[in-house]
């Protein structure tokens, strides 16, 4: 199964969306969900109660739907499969798949803990510790869609809101590792200096570490190279912005994307995820770079900026 990071940050995104269920199909699906809901209900109450509050049953139902969606997505089946498939065995298979996903995500977490440099960022440190608690609290049997973890640290390219449960955590960790891959291409001293220029209090604030580094990386590529310096002057920044403003928005975004790819080559960032991630981050710089004469100096945390 492709991860969401691969699906949502492709070079050319092509999505085929299913039409929403008709009213009749919704009724069919509801009837098929009743037995599953009753089973989950019994597991939740352990036979102590025949009734629950609607909010609690809603959580159980959301968990069932998330679990089934996870499995049909994993098997690359259309959502309408649920209308005809035997849901009980599909649900059991889905729970096994979720359990495996949980195990592999925990391994991924250990990899993140070993590799990610937090450059003193308290929010990143706290978030990573919070994700550790997720693996103790997560209940894939009854509340598979929930994310029992405090996640304050903001990624440069946030995980889509539609992702839930362990799928969200997996995606978050993959993106964090991808961001870290770029950061570790540079001297930690230069990264720290750049982050301090970007925001002197970055350690205490909810500042994403990747974004300023990615911006300067792309800025260097647009200026013809020298990425490892991780330091652009105000003059260089202004020149980059002027050049982008002189182009049509579409051409400017193409130039940003191609510059990001060139930077990746020079930095020996060969893994496709890193390339896609930096390319997407570069394109998202465009509105900020053309916002005003001084904006480029801010975006690139340029040296000499008052």
């Amino acid at each position: 199964m492709k991860t969401t990071i691969e699906q949502s940050i492709p070079d050319a995104e092509i999505k085929v969306q299913e039409a929403p269920l008709t009213d009749n199909e919704k009724i069919i699906l509801q009837q098929k969900l009743f037995p599953l809901l009753e089973k989950q209900f019994r597991m939740k109450t352990q036979g102590d109660s025949t009734s629950l509050r609607e909010e609690e049953v809603t959580e159980l139902l959301d968990s069932i739907l998330f679990t089934l969606r996870f499995e049909i997505s994993r098997q690359a089946l259309p959502f309408r499969t649920l209308l005809t498939a035997e849901l009980a065995p599909l649900f059991s298979a889905a729970q096994q798949s979720l359990q495996q996903c949980l195990t592999s995500t925990e391994q991924l977490y250990r990899q993140v803990m070993a590799q990610v440099k937090d450059f003193g960022s308290l929010s990143l440190r706290d978030t990573l510790n919070g994700i550790g608690a997720f693996f103790r609290r997560y209940d894939y049997r009854l509340y598979a869609h929930l994310i029992p973890a405090d996640i304050d640290y903001q990624l440069c390219l946030p995980v889509p809101d539609k992702l839930c449960g362990v799928v969200f955590i997996r995606e978050y960790l993959l993106r964090l590792l991808t961001e870290n891959t770029l950061l570790t291409r540079y001297s930690p001293v230069r990264v720290s200096a750049l982050l301090t220029r970007f925001s002197p209090d970055y350690r205490e604030l909810l500042v994403n570490l990747y974004e300023p580094v990615a911006a300067v990386t792309v800025g260097h590529a647009l200026s013809g190279g020298g990425e490892t310096l991780l330091e652009l002057t105000e003059t260089q920044s202004a020149q980059v912005a002027q050049h982008l403003v002189s182009l049509s928005p579409a051409d400017a975004k193409k130039l940003l994307a191609s510059s990001a790819r060139e930077a990746c080559e020079r930095l020996a960032l060969t893994d496709p995820l890193s390339v896609r991630y930096l390319t997407r981050a570069a394109v998202e710089l465009y509105p900020r770079l053309i916002a005003g004469p001084q904006s480029a100096a801010g975006v690139f945390s340029a040296v000499g900026t008052p």
């Binding site: 919704k26 009724i27 699906l29 509801q30 009837q31 969900l33 009743f34 809901l37 009753e38 209900f41 019994r42 102590d48 109660s49 025949t50 009734s51 629950l52 509050r53 609607e54 909010e55 049953v57 809603t58 139902l61 959301d62 739907l65």
Partner: protein, 152 residues
């Protein structure tokens, strides 16, 4: 999905609930109590309304058979009030469940209600309606009727 699922679930359970209620007559008849088809239909409708009013969802046989079996031998339950009393007890049961935040199990709550109704309440639904969460806890914990009365 749940917006339409819960009403559909409640409606789908009606037929099975009616059959379950019919079966309770075989036990309650020995106490001179039974439900007619009209009363069974009224009770299943009342169950749906009660669940809707209290924002609860029920599965399986539901609470009505348990309430009937628990209260049918009450000396305060009479034939002409049987159906209305069971419907009222059902309303109270779901209300108490919410007030207790599901801290007691179904059986524990029914035991508490039974003790209050047959004990200090002397068959008064109004007394039961006014019972507080701590009244219910004390009633559940009391081994014998009246144990909890002295605590007030």
């Amino acid at each position: 999905m749940e917006d339409s699922l819960f009403p559909a679930l409640r409606q789908a359970q009606k037929a099975a609930m009616a059959e379950t209620l019919r079966k309770t007559n075989s036990l309650t008849e020995r106490y001179g109590l039974s439900l007619s088809e009209t009363q069974i239909a009224a009770l299943t409708d009342a169950r749906v309304s009660s669940l809707l009013d209290t924002g609860r969802v029920e599965t399986g046989e539901g609470i009505l058979p348990k309430l009937i079996y628990a209260f049918c031998d009450s000396p305060f339950l009479f034939r002409d009030e049987y159906c209305q009393t069971i419907a009222a007890l059902q309303d109270l049961f779901y209300t108490f469940r919410n007030e207790l935040e599901d801290a007691l199990s179904d059986d524990e709550l029914i035991l508490a209600m039974q003790r209050l109704y047959n004990g200090p309440g002397q068959g008064s639904l109004e007394y039961l309606e006014n019972a507080t969460v701590s009244d219910l806890y004390r009633a559940w914990q009391g081994d014998e009727e009246g144990d909890y009365e002295d605590d007030d």
